[in-house]
Amino acid sequence: MKHLEQQLRALRSSGRKALVPYFVAGLTPDWIQHVEAAVLAGADAVEIGVPFSDPMIDGVVIQEGVLRSLEAGTTLDSVCKDLSSLSTHVPLVAMTYYNIFFHYGLERAAGKIAASGLSGAIVPDLTIEESSDWRVACDAHDLANVFIVAPSSTPDRVALLAPASEGFCYASARMAVTGRAADEGDAKRVVGEVRAISDVPVYVGIGIGTPEQAREASMVSDGVIVGTALVQLILDGGDVHAIEDFIGSFRRAIDIAPVSA
């Protein structure tokens, strides 16, 4: 079992719901401080988004963040360099599109990010069918490769993905790209399907924009991922304090959730 998964299982055992904010790496010069602020305010793990020119599964807000970061010159190397100044106890998980790693060289990329303190990776356009080379590289560097299960995933696909997902399993709450959403989505059903097959922690993402939504999602899962709303805050100029407040409000919301659903 990868180190990331050990940590996240331990977190679950502690009864605490995981709060996992997503940051676009390099979006602002002080993005590392943003990450630190989030951790301070109660994040249990952090997704580090490495920007890619063609973010196919991201909505307009994250697209905008990615574009700004790229314009600022962000690269996989620069992200890793920035991360060397980050000291934190919470696990960090890379989130990027496959071409970034593929172009860098899979083995080299896995080594690089592991050396920069990342212990997992989410590659949303890497299907399990195409993932073997990447997983070999991950294994070599104790990187957990996280798979996403979607509302559309058929039982046979859930049966493939859930056991293969390391660290946690990403349950997509809805058939949509990243962004805000009004409804609750299919989180409960998707999480249930994963849990029926695997006891890997299951976190809900896609469309978790308010503390209230986070609270509800956490009630049916082991944690929540908050992306778009946070990126929007930063795009709007939110500073470390604003980020602390934001993450704090999510923390509080999920902490008052009943222990399990």
Partner: protein, 393 residues
């Protein structure tokens, strides 16, 4: 895939050699799998084949003729023939693909199609087939392109389609594909994504090639009927690569040399490297960090930073060659074909003509029998060409 039989099926996961495959959000995987099995099933079904061919014949104007080009032949010292996709309904080969995909959409019980478009050719073709079969249709088009191609937007609207301007990224074709994929995620239940070239995740590159292979199959039979036999050379322009794949398919297992002509500013084989985009592994134009670069071409239809994965395979395996032609060589070729043969080709097609003109007697030995795939007509481009020539004075 056996190297001795080019352009047969890809492997079970859609690989052509090291290229192809499926690189999509999990949310779309079931749809890709459903589509693959639906297509496999339909393509093996004589009734579907019959319907597809009947619609292409009665509605699409197939077979398109093979036209000898006597005056250009004489000028170049070659024996030139053109496969006339410009005469197909909506003015290019795009109709072959969309007729197949809309029939499949109905077969899958879906009621709506979405599509990306650059200059608008694939969008118009999709809107056309959607109208014909009573499907709803939404077309994603980069905002920059909607402004450049106002009349094609209007044509799609006349055909009952909704055109959505895409404001992300470079606001051109690449971003329209991203947006269509995003949109597909949220409506995959009732909606088919009608991709416009031999690109994207499996089964698209294979399916679109199969749907376009009618070009090459017809042309091969026509050249034989005309007493020409197997050509020495088959030339097609390459954007995503669908017209080229379609015509190559009829000659892949003959002695014919196959040449794809890319726009110099979008030459994925010449300037690209392996990468993953839009659901496929292929050759892509990208920077040193793996960020996809914008392609630049005088012709909107070749303005794509990638190439279909099967072409990447044909290129690396050596079965086909890929050449690049710059914007400056294109207008001259368009003019020559117009003046000598009475055919105004699309700017895309003019790239293939330009390469033939450039290499006649050089890379193309004198006397060669050459089949040009005349992928589309130039009517859509005359306003642009006129502006350029006026600006040049």
């Amino acid at each position: 895939m056996s190297e001795s039989s080019f352009m047969s099926s890809p492997d079970a996961r859609g690989h052509f050699g090291e290229f192809g495959g499926r690189f999509v959000p999990e949310a779309l995987m079931p749809a890709c799998l459903e589509l693959e099995s639906a297509f496999r099933d339909a393509w093996a079904d004589a009734a579907f084949q019959h319907e597809y061919r009947t619609v292409l014949k009665e509605f699409g104007g197939r077979p398109t003729p093979v036209t000898p080009l006597p005056r250009l032949s004489e000028r170049l010292g070659l024996e030139l023939y053109a496969k006339r996709e410009d005469l197909a309904h909506t003015g290019s080969h795009k109709i072959n693909n969309v007729v197949g995909q809309t029939l499949l959409t109905k077969r899958m019980g879906k009621t709506r199609v979405i599509a990306e478009t650059g200059a608008g050719q694939h969008g118009v073709a999709t809107a056309t087939a959607a109208a014909r079969f009573g499907l709803e249709c939404t077309v994603y088009m980069g905002e920059v392109d909607t402004k450049r191609q106002v009349l094609n937007v209007f044509r799609m609207e006349l055909l009952g389609a909704t055109v959505v301007p895409v404001t992300s990224g470079s606001r051109t074709l690449k971003d329209a594909v991203n947006e269509a994929m995003r949109e597909w995620v949220s409506c995959v239940n009732d909606t088919h994504y009608c991709l416009g070239s031999v690109m994207g995740p499996h089964p698209f590159p294979w399916m679109v090639r199969e749907l376009q292979s009618i070009i090459g199959i017809e042309a091969s039979a026509q050249l034989h009927d005309m007493g020409v036999g197997t050509p020495d050379l088959v030339v097609a322009c390459v954007g995503g690569g669908s017209n080229a794949a379609g015509v190559f398919a009829g000659f892949a297992n003959t002695s014919a040399r196959l040449v794809g002509v890319e726009a110099a500013g979008g030459s994925a084989v010449g300037m690209g490297s392996p990468g993953v985009l839009h659901g496929m592994k292929s050759l892509l134009i990208q920077d040193e960090f793996g960020q996809i670069e914008e392609a630049h071409s005088i012709s909107a239809g070749l303005d794509y930073p990638g190439i279909g994965p099967e072409h990447a395979f044909l290129a690396t395996s050596g079965r086909a060659e890929y050449q690049a032609i710059g914007d400056d060589e294109v207008l001259g070729a368009l003019k020559v074909l117009s003046e000598l043969e009475g055919i105004i080709p699309a700017l895309e097609t003019a790239h293939a003509v330009a390469w033939i003109m450039k290499e006649a007697g050089g890379a193309i030995p004198k006397g060669s029998k050459v089949l040009l795939n005349l992928s589309g007509r130039g009517d859509k481009d005359v306003a642009q060409v006129r502006e350029i020539l006026r600006a040049e004075g």
